[in-house]
Amino acid sequence: MRILGIETSCDDTAAAVVDDTGLVLSSVISSQDAFHRKYDGIVPEIASRRHTATIIASVDEALLQAGMRIRDVDGIAVTCGPGLIGSLLVGVETAKGLAYASGKPLIPVNHLEGHVMASFLRDPASDLQPLTADDFPLLALIVSGGHTELVYVDRWHHYRVLGATRDDAAGETLDKFAKYLGLGYPGGPVVQKIGATGDPSYHSFPRVTFSRGGYEFSFSGLKTAGINYVKSLTSEELKAHLPDIVASFESAVVGELAGKSLRAAHNLSPRTLTVVGGVAANKRLRDNFARAGDVRVYFPPMKYCTDNGAMIAYAGTRRAMLGVRAAIDLDACSSLGIEDSSLNT
């Protein structure tokens, strides 16, 4: 079984073909960074326009790279939520048009499930050993510019959210801090680059702790503390210690993520902990998971951590094997939760 996957939930227009073993036959990503950079953040209307302009070319390129025509695929999977509604609609309506005209099944995919499924993708060019069915139950930290969720997955399509962010997503926090410092957009990579040479213990930012000992996250307080701290510095101090300050802030963000994830792993004893989403590319975050103990920690290849069509195609493949189909009036849902997409298998 080979499924075409389409992903347009945020600012990347992506399409891919994946088979039922998780083997990635093609993965095409058309980045919009250049269009959003001058606004230091994603402008939804621009994202929707770019998706509309490039989606057919992305789909065609994905099919071409897989050596296929659309009639050769066994289904079309599409992200139907969560995400920016205008962006989601372009992918959903395109997928519906493609599925209708080709007579192929349409398979709805939750973007967050897609991120988890990235852990199972097999890349012909990567030595990494992806997860298999033997790795359940697993704990997934989904962390990106739009999401921060810790999810327990006991088997395929079974999701229990242990905790999510109460305010900003972790990646958003890094973006906003970078923006305040005038470092540019997107903030994650630039923070990592500048912070790489800094001393993460230079300044200690406050951590948020919730009394019930749960797994919820909060980053808005940390963001405010970061900005207030920068405001308190002279421009000379800031200039002299920029890498240290960035490293300290980055360290506080990823420390929060890793700390809660490892505590959940300790308490719930999953077989595997997988870290997915754009922030999973962060080196300091990866280093923080070095002390994981018995649990296997997996990071998918970088290109499958950020938004991509392959993860949607594979999630679609798993669902298609169970007979999941979308109706012709499938709608996008910007606030879809991962638990909303749990299946009673």
């Binding site: 606004y39 302009a53 057919i56 065609d60 309506e93 048009g97 209708y100």
Partner: protein
Amino acid sequence: MLRQAFLLINTATVSGVVGLARGDEVLAQASLQLATASNTVVAAVDQVLVEAGCTLDEVAGIVLVKGPGTFTGSRVGASIAKAIAYVVPCSLLSVTTLEAVAWSGFLTSTTQATDGPVWALLDARRHEFYVQEFSVRNGAIVSQADAVCLGPGAFDTVRDVGGLATCAFSPAAVPENQRPHERENVVWSFDVYPSCAGILAASAGARSEDPFTLEPLYLRSTEELFDHPKVAL
């Protein structure tokens, strides 16, 4: 099988329509309430094909009303039209919402002018209107000028010339001091949305589009909209 049918799609206005035509005849149509049910367009395409007893194999092309209009609505129609044209494959033609409105209003006008100015007006929000001047020549609507986006002065522009003014909005959307009054040189026609007959008639002058590159016609650039974005920190 002969490919002779054309699929007509307008989702750029709040009242949308999907239709199937062969030659000059509209074989089937379905209206769309896009404000509440933008997810039903593909189902409507299926409905008109079934009603007309046609399959996509008989579709020679798609005529898309590509905007201006609501941004999301325009994208929904464009996404679907591009996808279907890519898969079938069939030709993809576009007309503007203003062309489709002018034709739709002209075809149903009771005071049908045999020649003279015909205006198309669309609500562009922010107290602005998209306006385009056409004229009737030999029974056909011909563009006289490019579409422009104007403030309430749009109505003065129309009154300066006179003619038939077809408006894709209700009279309530007209500014108080611009409301139609008796004994003026303009015949105002409100709530005119692209009809299948109007889209089909406009398609005689349609542009040929590439499904790989077609974008809706927005008339408002993102620079104009967002060069002073309110991105909260």
